[in-house]
Point group: none
DNA sequence: TATGAATGAGACTTCATTCAT
DNA sequence: GATGAATGAAGTCTCATTCAT
């Protein structure tokens, strides 16, 4: 029925507007400082409407996080480990990852920043989301390193320790890119950080 | 005067109690979720008393951060870079740093946890504290690496990028040690992470 | 839309109720002694509701003052100076002013009382309101006296000084009418005070 | 005993200091905005000490008012009505009163201002003090006018009404002198206002 | 007398959430 | 589905006052 259809669309639209507005406000003021009132004002709807779509602030934030996880993980899955054969492939791969990250920061940096900031807080209700995210990336990194070892490209290393280091390095450089004022220099560092980690691992 | 003396002591004691209680509650519930009311309850004093000692929640949190910075920086200054001469010295130094960190986590893990968690929040009033802290540590790491290069111990590397990586690695492994459920295994990782980073850098 | 209409009415009603309740409580206890809590209790709404309508206590007080200014100024503009030609007109005019004031006290005495009492407090945020009010009335009085001089009805006088005196006289007699226990006698004085001032000025 | 004597003096001194400090703070911030804490800080003593001398804020304010009443009433009693015989005496007397007021405003203007402001507030605990003061002055004015009528100097007037007017005029001119920014011009008005009132009354 | 730490009542204000329309 | 007025709990903060020393 056209009626139901229209209603569905309306529902979809308002929901989208709320999510968009929420993202905007969260990014600007942080999770704790934003109020439902801020969100609905930004979305151009009223208080009551909010509760037709979300249970509360945590609920809409979770929804945003979920969207984000989907987004970045599909991005990471595009990286094709199998095609790496030689030393040069290895370096090229690291450059490609750096490129992906840079692009991602440029297009979704605000979101990334929000995510990093709000999920590491003590008492955060989003620990599960954060963990899912971290372990997803760690898995990728491990897979990469193990593949390199199989090919006899890499030095004799403590895989787990090295993967953890690499993850920390990534996280920190991203953090700096997202948070620090002098973003430019921090962004410039990303390829260098990833490249130098890659080189250190090579035989 | 005896009375003045007594008052002085009382003042000192209550101030300590408030700081201690605040640390405890902050660590348990996080900065945003803890209320002044929580703190005074834990300290065994009344609301009014709190305001004799601190302006507000941010003020007592700042006081805690400051205490912590003093604590850890004095610990780091004990590391004697000059005595490092050979490859073995280098590895021993890295072990010593790992040891220091482990001890530190055991004795002041709460502080560390609180610090790491709460200073990366968007809209945090503590960005300056966080940056002061980070750059202090980065400086130490750079000094170490440059010293190693001077001695011709280390490979040809991008110092800034590598120092940033090392810092990120440290931070992540510490974070996992402080936060994750299976703390034991995470703690076990600290020496391995630091050691493997050190080895990668060696020629 | 019916709902919007209902909401509009509700909004209007509650706002009126708050203003009315505030006037009542302010008059009874004075500005400083009344709390928001008093006002909302008198208005039959809850604390939160108050803040949907006014920023704080000073805000609702300002709103009251503004209402009052509008009220009395429109009353004063009704006085028609131009029609005064003879000695008798002059005396009749003074009687008419006295009548207006008496009526005003009877119908809006609370407003007047509140206004007179609370706008002379040191540190009052309402000095501007008070001055606007005073100079408005002073202007009227000067206009009156100058008109009388033009017509050669009045003695040779220091207009500014006399207008100031007349204003002070008015204010004091009104004050006594509003505040003193034996209001009756004080009210009786108003016509006598105004009349005797008028006679003193006549040649 | 010297001991007791010294103690008495000490008591006197601290009490004076508190009164002086209180006056200063009251004048600066007004009655309601000043706290006990402000007063003791200004006096250089501690909270506890205050309560050895005064019951509460109203108590110390009352003490100040009482001091002030004594001061001004003794000033007014110096005016010698009996010596007025002629028309010129009458004008000279009015000039003398104006002079006294001007001097008084110059030396105790702050106090006057405080007094005027805080005793006319609704719910003021100082109504009695204010009334005692007003009726004292009214009595003087009536005495003056009646004396003038006895001497056949003055026109045929409604004594009560005229006295009230005169009192109001005085009060307003004083108020303007004390409160308004352009004090200079207001002060200049005092002699003119009093003089013109005196002249209007003369036959 | 003087101190000043401690109290605790109470004021102000915000905000998530509900509900009648 | 949308509205937005109303709620009321909960938090922040101030200050007059007490009391052990």
């Amino acid at each position: 029925m056209a009626r139901t259809r229209a209603a569905e669309i309306a529902r979809e639209v308002t929901g989208r507007e709320l999510l968009g507005a929420a993202l905007e406000v969260f990014v600007e003021k942080g999770y704790h400082a934003t109020t439902i009132s801020d969100i609905v004002r930004a979305a151009g709807v009223t208080q009551g409407t909010f509760y037709l779509y979300f249970k509360n602030k945590a609920d809409i934030f979770s929804a945003l996080l979920e969207e984000y996880r989907t987004l970045i993980i599909s991005g990471l899955f595009d990286v094709d480990v199998a095609s790496v054969k030689t030393r040069d492939d290895w370096l090229r791969l690291s450059d490609r990852i750096a490129g992906f990250l840079l692009d991602h920061i440029k297009t979704h940096g605000e979101f990334m920043r929000l995510f990093i900031a709000e999920t590491t807080t003590i008492g955060s209700c989003f620990v599960d989301e954060a963990n899912a995210f971290s372990s997803g990336i760690m898995r990728e990194i491990c897979r990469l390193i193990e593949h390199g070892i199989c090919l006899n490209l890499l030095r004799d290393i403590d895989v787990e320790a090295v993967a953890l280091s690499a993850f920390g390095a990534l996280k920190e450089v991203v953090r700096q890119s997202c948070f620090d004022e002098g973003t430019a220099s921090a962004e410039a560092l990303i390829p260098r950080v990833i490249r130098s980690q890659a080189e250190l691992l090579l035989k």
